[in-house]
Amino acid sequence: MRLQEHPVLDFSKKRGKKVTIYFEGKPIDAYEGEPIAEALHAAGIRVMNYTPTTGRARGIFCAIGKCSSCLMKVNGIPNVRTCITLVEDGMQVERQRGLEPLPRDYKPPKWKDAERVNADIIIIGGGPAGLMAAIKAVEHGASVALMDENPMLGGQLVKQTHKFFGKREQFAGVRGVKIAEILEKEAREKGVNIYLETSAIGIFQDGEERIVTAIRENKKLVEFRGRAILVATGAMEKMIPFENNDLPGVYGAGAIQTLMNTYGIQPGKKVLIVGAGNVGVILAYQLLQAGVDVVAVVEAMPKVGAYFVHAAKIRRLGVPIYTRHTILRAEGKEKVERAVIAQLDDSWNPIPGTEKTYDVDIVALSVGLRPSIELLHQAGAQALYVRELSGYVVQHDERMETTVRGIFVAGDSSGIEEATTAMLEGKLAGLAMALYVGKADVKNAMDEMEQVRKDLDEFRSGPFGERARIGEKKVMIK
């Protein structure tokens, strides 16, 4: 089902031309600019494939191209990430049943040399960190090419309908979606060379240059060549173990936001949210805005992790938050039909007799994120596990340069924080890269970096910034 009315977002203007795609031969309405999985979800199709070994049904989980849970056969080609592949009129989409055979195609491809894109700086990831870095680097005289594997810029900002906190120059009071628009406009106006639907697949050294190889629109090879590279690839949603945690309808919180806030698709009718951090609680509010029933938010910790204002808002609207509770299992045939929760004792074991069953069609997991460091790892950057930053992160210096010369990191891929710190880290990296490639005026750039570092310290100075402060200390190279 598609959302027609929304208090914050207007989808009638956003939707593209109506097209028809075919799911297992049946025609389905879709809109240009919409990914396949999202269009199928709007038509009520939740199962995308059946797993190779156990034949279990799988649907979307992350909806941003990171988890491979939505692989389908598209126009005969297997293993297509349907959550980030846009619909085309007449497209044939089929569920994958286990591993698919190779298409019987005997025509060797005409080998075209890859498209070559040269710039001083190559940025992987067009979220708040990547965009901000691009803007800063261009402002200081460097040329920038930026790629993102999603069909739009803004990263996770595009689904943040809430207003940001902080200082005015850090977009306080502005909704995330709006910040994405502002940053995109600025980046485009300043001449950042932008490649969407372009997945970076490797970072290689070639003499003085570095090459980022990428695949555009699932088929074209692109070589980005530059001297400095920023990996701002964001994060991946975490999963927790419980029975049937792979049932279609168990979605990452971000996936639900993508469906609902980016594409105007109703994710379901009744939702149980697991995790009462900011993401979980904000999600609850957004679901209510979209007219979806939220039955409860469960939180294993004894305290709600979210900011008080967010939590108070949903409580006022009648959504119970159960601390010291967890999900025991999801139930249903090939889709979530029920969820069972229970109270936890002091040693985190479920207390018998406290089980409660909810009739829901969605279980939203907001149990944390982990940094996406795959490309940094491939490039040889030194990584370490930092609990406070939610996983493996790479070491970096105070200019955001990793242990590999010329490769920088910013945003969630350098440790899980939030969009504001991602933008500040992006600024820092953008300035540092402009210096690194010799384009920036040294004094100007150094002065500005000093200011950004102060802003970062200030933003992290409160009690909510404690984890980040500890984490940063662990990864920082002196």
Partner: protein, 387 residues
């Protein structure tokens, strides 16, 4: 830590561990010293192919014996669990695609020689090749050399099984334990010095492949072994059984590729760099592997590469290993310089080395790999290196 062994083996790759196995089976007390972790040097980076289709007597004989052992590997390992967990030697064959008269005549000669040792190889038509691999583009293929008893195996499972078996038989394997020095008295090896202390041993085997000369320097010996960077890739999985054999094409950059049990393609091309100790993956390799693989099996254009890595071919001038006694010091042996064939040759090479070390001789053609042949200017015909 064990302080006295009959044999100390330096290097915990497939060669060192397999030799440890044969020696332990003959009642020798063995210790294996690995500077990193088992398989970490070259074994875990290998292309996994096992073939008897060589072009010379010695390598064919060695590989015929190797395949016999690979086939019974799980029995040798006395693996307690299910066979599928023990080891996955799959006799899925090797298919060399031939694109010219000269290739056909060369491979026909090889096939005749292989028949002498009972290898059931043959020259087949392009259509027959496509029956074996239905996704092949055969428009330019003139013929193929095919042997159904060649195959591939998992280096990970092989190393794990060997480590368990050697330990069960009383052998000791020390990881993160580099050997820093040979202990020598009166021109005779008496053991090794390691990062954790000394171990006395009557014999020492240098099974460190690319790194072999590091230990030889101490005694003023240097064999012609150079590290060359080679690379390999793995793709995302698709339905298993689509590319059963190892498919090889010299015309396409010396490409070799096959599908693993889990459905992903593993393979590489001949492109090499070196001598060098750098094994970082290169873009040139990624590009060329894509270009060449899709010319052999066009449908691979729809399949994504998910991993790429580098490793060493420890190359000798004739691409044949250096196996035997090191004459300069009594009790010191070498099995190194495998030039890309160590994994497939390991069972037979290890058996021959164990024979040599315990009985002084072997029925396998070890002389072919004489460490001093280069000194005498007696290079062998270059072994077929691909796959």
């Amino acid at each position: 830590m064990m302080n006295k062994a009959d044999v100390a083996i330096v290097g915990g790759g497939i060669i060192g561990l397999f030799t440890a196995f044969w020696l332990a089976q003959r009642g020798e007390r063995v210790v294996v010293l690995e500077k990193n972790y088992p398989g970490s040097g070259s074994t875990f980076r290998c292309g996994t192919g096992i073939r008897q289709q060589f072009g010379d007597d010695a390598n064919i004989q060695m590989m015929v014996r190797s395949v016999e052992i690979w086939k019974d590997f799980c029995k040798y390992m006395e693996y307690p669990g299910p066979a599928s967990e023990c080891f996955t030697f799959a006799q899925t064959g090797y298919l060399f695609l031939l694109y010219s008269e000269s290739e056909i005549s060369e491979f026909s000669k090889n096939v005749s020689l292989q028949h002498k040792y009972g290898v059931p190889s043959s020259i087949i038509s392009p259509e027959e090749a496509r029956e074996i691999v239905p996704t092949l583009d055969i428009s330019e293929v003139m013929a193929a050399a095919w042997n159904p008893t060649d195959g591939k195996a998992s280096p990970f499972l092989a190393i794990r099984a060997l480590v368990d078996r050697v330990r069960d038989m009383g052998g000791e394997i020390y990881v993160n334990t580099p050997v820093t020095e040979l202990l020598i008295e009166k021109n005779t090896v008496t053991g090794v010095k390691t990062s954790r202390g000394e171990i006395k041993a009557d014999m020492v085997l240098n099974a460190t492949n690319a790194w072999a000369n590091a230990l030889n320097e101490q005694i003023g010996v240097r064999f012609p072994i150079e590290p060359y960077k080679h690379q390999a890739i793995v793709t995302e999985p698709f339905k298993a059984g689509e590319i059963k054999p190892m498919v090889i094409s010299f015309k396409h950059g010396g490409a070799y590729l096959t599908q693993k049990a889990n459905g992903g393609v593993i393979g590489g091309i001949a492109l090499k760099y070196g001598p060098t100790w750098d094994i970082s993956p290169t873009y040139e390799f990624l590009r060329e592997v894509s270009r060449n693989f899709t010319r052999i099996i066009p449908a691979l254009k729809y399949i994504s590469i998910i991993r790429q890595w580098g490793g060493y071919y420890a190359e000798t001038p004739d691409h044949n290993a250096i196996l035997g006694k090191v004459k300069e010091v009594d009790g010191y042996y070498i099995a190194a310089g495998f030039s890309g064939h160590g994994f497939m040759l390991a069972p037979a090479v290890a058996e021959a080395m164990a024979d040599l070390m315990t009985k002084g001789s072997t029925t396998l053609p070890l002389d072919f790999y004489d460490p001093y042949r280069f000194q005498r200017g007696e290079l062998r015909e270059q072994a077929i290196q691909m796959g």
